[in-house]
């Protein structure tokens, strides 16, 4: 189980992004984190994945644990190797100037076992389209293909837990649907998944638990089904719920009321 306890993160020693986030991602579940831009979703994933250093960020309080061991102070290389936790960055983190096959090989760099080829075949099994593109430079493939490649690359690290940062970003609805089906399938095969999404509806539908992040805090949590039904979530993240259109003033008052959550 991955648990985040009262996590506070600042960038450049002054810009406070996470102000005490606590959440749990149970083994074998999809935990969905939704929130507006600037809520701290990406920072949260960077912190868990051990990537804060590069972005001049620091954990100043709280802890991140896999099981009972703390991940604080470890960098991404260690976290991937020792805890099988891989972070798939937002915006399709593939290497543009490497071919699809080289991308998969690069992601397997931290491994020394002989099963790399077999795993590559497994990835091609999930994403048959990648097999045809294997000798093409990743920069010349479509957005959907790049995101599939990114997921494939994360599988090459032999993860137990995968953190996805907005996999649907900039993709057509049909492609998004397919991606989410794949994520669901990976989960059914035993992977623990943390999914950060703007596309709240689609994400909550495949998720087990959901968290709403706002201003660096978890303001709402519950089962994904419950969040889908929650009136606040429906109004602010699903774009539905209110019977009649509210005026902007009402919405502002509503936000004020919501803050205690």
């Amino acid at each position: 189980m991955l648990s985040v306890e009262n996590l506070r993160v600042v960038y450049h020693d002054v810009i406070s992004i996470l102000n005490g986030v606590s959440l749990k991602a149970h083994n074998g579940e999809i935990s969905v984190i939704i929130g507006a831009n600037g809520a701290g979703k990406t920072t949260l994933l960077r912190a868990i994945g051990g990537m804060l250093d590069i972005y001049e960020g620091d954990i100043i309080e709280g802890d991140i644990k896999v099981g009972d061991t703390s991940l604080r102070g470890l960098d991404s290389t260690d976290i991937i190797k020792k805890y099988g936790l891989t972070y798939v960055m937002e915006d399709r983190p593939v290497f543009w100037y490497l071919t699809v096959e080289e991308n998969l090989a690069a992601a397997a760099y931290s491994r020394w076992d002989g099963a790399v080829k077999a795993d590559m075949e497994r990835v091609f099994g999930y994403f048959p389209i990648l097999r045809n593109l294997r000798n093409q430079k990743a920069g010349y493939t479509s957005g959907g293909e790049q995101q599939m490649l990114a997921i494939g690359m994360s599988l090459m690290t032999r993860p137990k837990i995968i953190l996805f940062d907005e996999p649907s970003l900039g993709l057509a609805p049909l492609v998004t649907q397919e991606l989410f089906r794949i994520i669901q399938r990976l989960n059914e095969e035993g992977l623990t998944i943390v999914l950060v999404e703007q596309n709240a509806h689609a994400a909550l539908r495949i998720g087990h638990r959901g968290y709403v992040l706002e201003n660096g805090r978890v303001v709402l949590e519950g089962s994904a089904a419950a969040l889908l039904e929650n009136e606040d979530v429906r109004e602010f993240y699903l774009g539905a719920g209110a019977k009649e259109r509210r005026s902007y003033q009402d919405a502002k008052r509503y936000k004020r009321r919501k803050r205690w959550l």
Partner: protein, 294 residues
């Protein structure tokens, strides 16, 4: 006609050496986005390290060269660790400026340790002088071209056919992405500097073998500037082509233009050529066409 063939051959042979120098610049530029202006000093340091193993310790060439290269790699790695790593995440320009300072420091160190006089430098490699009628290619020139070519080939093999090569190219493209997939980007950068120092050291030993070795030999390293700018700063194949072009240009100007009374013009000619190339192709002949998505 014989004259022309002689000139072209000589130009190609030295071109491979220049290409190797260019490669040393290119792999660092791709990985750190810094231009290593300390290349001349890397060249001198590498040559002196080899000098110690070969001339002072009297080891055979086949052992002294790898040892000298390893020592050069260690120096390259050390330089990266001390001066470049603290700047990780900053712009390539600050690292480039650092290399300027580094050049002064290394040059002064070499003078302190080895003095400012010249050391005679002669490798007793098998004589493979090529002499056909009036054509003459001296043995040390052929060795220089040959060994540089082999070194270049080894680096290409490493970069494009091995797992480390994939990791190096991935890191060169994006450090955050590489780290997110478990590639230790910091270590890879160290390796890249070590590799670069080795390339430059091979070229350095070959260049020293043409004459003598002193701290001023480093000036030859500046040839790498027109090489990489003509070939394209981020193109590995471009470094080789750029090296050959500069070598040929130098040789042709040396035998056909200088006799007209323009003594020393062959040192300027590559820069004139560079100017023309940059007018036509600002990224250099083989600079990567950036992948752009629309």
């Amino acid at each position: 006609m014989i004259d022309l063939i002689q000139t072209l051959g000589a130009g190609l042979l030295i071109g491979f050496v220049y290409g190797l120098l260019g490669l040393g610049i290119v792999i660092i530029f791709r990985a750190s986005e810094a231009f290593n202006f300390a290349i001349g000093e890397f060249l001198v340091v590498g040559s002196f390290l080899f000098y110690i193993f070969f001339f002072d310790l009297h080891l055979p060439f086949i052992i002294a060269l790898p040892l000298g290269l390893l020592a050069s790699a260690a120096v390259g790695a050390l330089v990266e660790k001390l001066s470049i790593k603290p700047l990780l995440g900053r712009s390539g320009l600050s690292m480039t400026i650092i290399t300027l300072g580094l050049a002064s420091v290394l040059r002064a160190l070499v003078q302190l340790i080895f003095g400012a006089h010249s050391y005679s430098f002669f490798l007793d490699l098998p004589d493979i002088t090529l002499e056909v009628s009036t054509l003459l290619f001296p043995s040390e020139r052929i060795w220089a071209g040959l060994l540089s070519f082999i070194a270049f080939g080894l680096i290409i093999f490493l970069l494009f056919r091995t797992r480390w090569g994939v990791a190096i190219r991935a890191t060169s493209e994006s450090q955050p992405k590489a780290m997110a997939f478990g590639i230790d980007a910091r270590f890879i950068l160290l390796i890249v500097w070590a590799l670069s120092a080795m390339c430059i050291a091979v070229a350095g030993v070959m260049i020293s073998n043409f004459g003598a070795l002193s701290y001023l030999t480093g000036i030859a390293g500046l040839r790498a500037i027109p090489v990489v700018l003509i070939g394209g700063m981020d193109s590995i194949g471009g470094a080789l082509i750029g090296g050959l072009i500069v070598g040929l240009c130098e040789a042709l100007v040396g035998s056909y233009v200088e006799p007209l009374g323009l003594v020393g013009f062959k040192d300027v000619a590559p820069y004139l050529l560079l100017l023309i190339v940059l007018f036509i192709r600002p990224y250099g002949l083989f600079g990567t066409v950036r992948i752009e998505r629309v």
